[in-house]
């Protein structure tokens, strides 16, 4: 009996504590992830951003996340569940969550939504993206300097504008150093399949490329590059562990600052629909240390990075031709963001046929 009372007492205490906590009314900030939060790439970068947010504003907010949410009808249910459970601001962190986010946002006009890498907005839906292509331009320059054969291998995922933009930027960067530089593109048609990514890497190396870069999520290509003794670039996260003597640099996504900025605006009641597309300059994208390369290459990379940050250099600046040889940008003209976000053509120098 004594024991039972003790249990009862502690339960009451617990309930009391729970209501006490909610009385403080911490704002709930929620995240929807497409992969596991420990995937070593895309989703992990978002989760690190979430942790930074918690560290910065933890006294005013609490965070919640759902991981491995498949794109499609499940995403809608997941987002709705979060909206119902009292989330004030919801970040949906994959391109494929776009329509689901818009749909649920209509149902919950009082909840704010932020969708990553998409292009549809609403009064309560903002979008945010990162100029990954700026990093790929630097990688292209490094590749052109480092490659002895003048050919790089590019493991691509799906022919969406984001990926096409990356390929183009890489080639433009490379050809700014070596006008004859070529790339071979292999479409893995997956974001995440270590085996297939490794197979694609092997195929490219067997066909004579001596630099590898990837727009897929795992470190498998890096591992193949290390095994075959060539150099490679990491993607989304610093992959130096998979290739200590292989990685030249990596594009590292750093979402934390953006999450903090937007959450603060939300707390202050100043949240507005925006379409944010920041890059190296804003720190949403950083380059992993330049390693495994001679000093002059490193210097060139650092200079380019500084020029991009200062706005002096924009990767998509003419004179540029499309793959078929037609004029795209006249000398000195830079592409507008709309064209980039809908990019469905290659620039001159890409030795591949764009899947339609």
């Amino acid at each position: 009996m004594k024991k039972l009372l003790l249990v009862l007492a502690s339960t009451t205490a617990a309930i009391g504590f729970a209501t006490g906590a909610s009385a403080q009314e911490k704002a709930k900030i929620c995240f929807v992830y497409v992969g596991a939060k420990t995937d070593g790439g895309w989703t992990q970068a978002h989760d690190i951003g979430r942790q930074e947010l918690e560290k910065a504003l933890g006294d005013k907010i609490e965070t919640q996340y759902l991981e491995s949410v498949p794109e499609g009808p499940d995403a809608e249910r997941a987002i709705e569940r979060l909206a119902r459970s009292g989330c004030g601001l919801i970040f949906t962190t994959s391109f494929g969550f776009m329509d689901a986010t818009i749909k649920i946002a209509q149902k919950f006009p009082d909840v704010k939504f932020e969708h990553a890498t998409g292009y549809k907005t609403a009064p309560n839906v903002a979008t945010y993206n990162s100029r990954f292509y700026e990093g790929r331009y630097i990688q292209g320059q490094i590749a052109a300097k480092m490659s002895q054969k003048g050919v790089a291998g590019y493991i691509a995922s799906f022919p969406i504008p984001e990926v096409v933009m990356g390929i183009n930027s890489f080639v433009i960067g490379a050809r700014s150093v070596n006008p004859d530089f070529k790339i071979k593109v292999v479409w893995a048609n997956t974001w995440f399949d270590p085996g297939k990514e490794a197979d694609a890497a092997k195929a490219l190396v067997d066909q004579g490329v001596d630099i590898l870069t990837q727009h897929t999520d795992t470190t498998a290509p890096m591992q193949v590059a290390a095994e075959r003794g060539i150099k490679a670039f990491g993607q989304a996260s610093d992959m130096i562990k998979a290739g200590p003597e292989t990685q030249l640099t990596a594009i590292v996504d750093t979402w934390g600052a953006y999450y903090i900025k937007r959450t603060q605006a939300f707390l202050d009641g100043k949240w507005e629909t925006t379409s944010s597309w920041d890059g190296l300059k804003d720190g949403i994208l950083t380059m992993a240390p330049y390693t495994n390369m001679p000093d002059d290459v490193k210097k060139l990379a650092e200079e380019t990075e500084a020029k991009i940050k200062s706005g002096e250099l924009k990767p998509f600046t003419g004179p540029l031709k499309k793959q078929d040889g037609s004029e795209w940008l006249a000398a000195g003209a830079s592409s507008d963001d709309g064209t980039l976000l809908g990019m469905n053509f290659y620039v001159e120098g890409v030795d591949d046929q764009l899947p339609k």
């Binding site: 992969g35 420990t38 070593g40 292999v186 195929a203 066909q207 562990k241």
Partner: protein, 306 residues
């Protein structure tokens, strides 16, 4: 090394896990049990092989751990479907989901760790044969095991008394029971063999194919293995042919892309599946042969009368 050899080497690495997981499932299905949990057992094998390799430093101990873990995990399925007579399809699917989840949790502390690769073992004399030697006789132990297992399964199923009993259980459990064969025991062992093979396939993924651990790294290979079993109409050597055909088409499409043939990549990516379907149609053309080979009691629960 010529380009052809390079391609063939990649094909062998890509096909081995498919063949291994499929040959185990073939034995399971020959005993009349449909275990859709191949993907789950495979990923459990992959994570435990990687983890134990990291802990002990020996990929061989890791490999055995993968096999043991796959076998052990399959016994959960066996207990639920054979002893408690739960629905096999639902339980198999649950096993896959459980495997993916549990492996993710087990592997969390091993993420991003540098993997240890199972090194190739050159077989004296044979390894020096031009062309064939480097391909077939300078491989890792799991490849050799896969060949031995397929040969062993073929011999067991069609040349041994125990194999005959196993097939009898799969074709008509009531008759086999009446003849005094222990249906449940046979099926427990068959499921365990399937689990062990799937575990070995998983170990190949995390120790040979891509020596690292990432969540969900089997990426659907368990399902392809399941399809291969049907593809082979439950015959071991056909299964090997199917596995290598699938591997060959998926590797050569990557090479075709890198070569710049200008064929749409989506079409190329779908080729392995198209090839599989075409062969399936050709095989199933002869309906009687298909029926003869299909285990008649496949997926049917057995409750012995008391």
């Amino acid at each position: 090394m010529g380009i052809v050899e390079a391609i063939l080497l990649s094909v062998i690495t890509a096909a081995t896990p498919l063949v291994l997981a499929a040959i185990g499932e073939l034995v399971t299905e020959r005993s009349g049990v449909l275990n859709l949990g191949v993907e789950g057992m495979m990923i459990m094998g992959a994570v435990s092989a990687f983890a134990i390799t990291q802990i002990t430093g020996s990929p061989y101990i890791g490999m055995f751990a993968g096999v043991a873990c796959g076998a052990l995990f399959s016994q959960l399925f066996a207990f639920l479907t054979l002893t408690l007579v739960a629905n096999q399809v639902a339980t198999g699917l649950a096993l896959t989901l459980l495997g993916i989840g549990v492996s993710g949790m087990m592997g969390e502390s091993f993420l991003g760790m540098q993997g240890v690769k199972l090194q190739p073992i050159a077989i004296p004399l044979l390894a020096d044969i031009p062309y064939v030697g480097p391909l077939l006789f300078r491989q890792d132990i799991i490849f050799y095991l896969s060949v031995a297992i397929v040969a062993g399964v073929h011999w067991f199923l069609f040349r041994s008394r125990a194999g005959l009993k196993l097939r009898a259980v799969g074709d008509s459990h009531a008759s086999a029971h009446a003849l005094g064969v222990s249906v449940i025991r046979t099926r427990y062992l068959a499921v365990m063999f399937g689990g062990a093979c799937a575990g070995l396939a998983g170990a190949q993924l995390s120790l040979v194919y891509t020596p690292q651990w990432v969540e969900n790294m089997s990426a659907g290979r368990g399902w392809i293995a399941l399809a291969l079993v049907v593809f082979s109409s439950w015959r071991p050597w056909r299964l090997v042919a199917g596995g290598y055909l699938f591997g060959a088409v998926s590797i050569s499409q990557l090479h075709a892309q890198a070569f710049g043939l200008g064929i749409p990549s989506q079409l190329l990516s779908s080729l392995p599946y198209v090839a599989t379907i075409v062969v399936l149609i050709l095989i199933s053309h002869n309906r009687r042969m298909t029926l003869i080979n299909t285990p008649a009691s496949l997926g049917k629960p057995f409750v012995p009368d008391r």
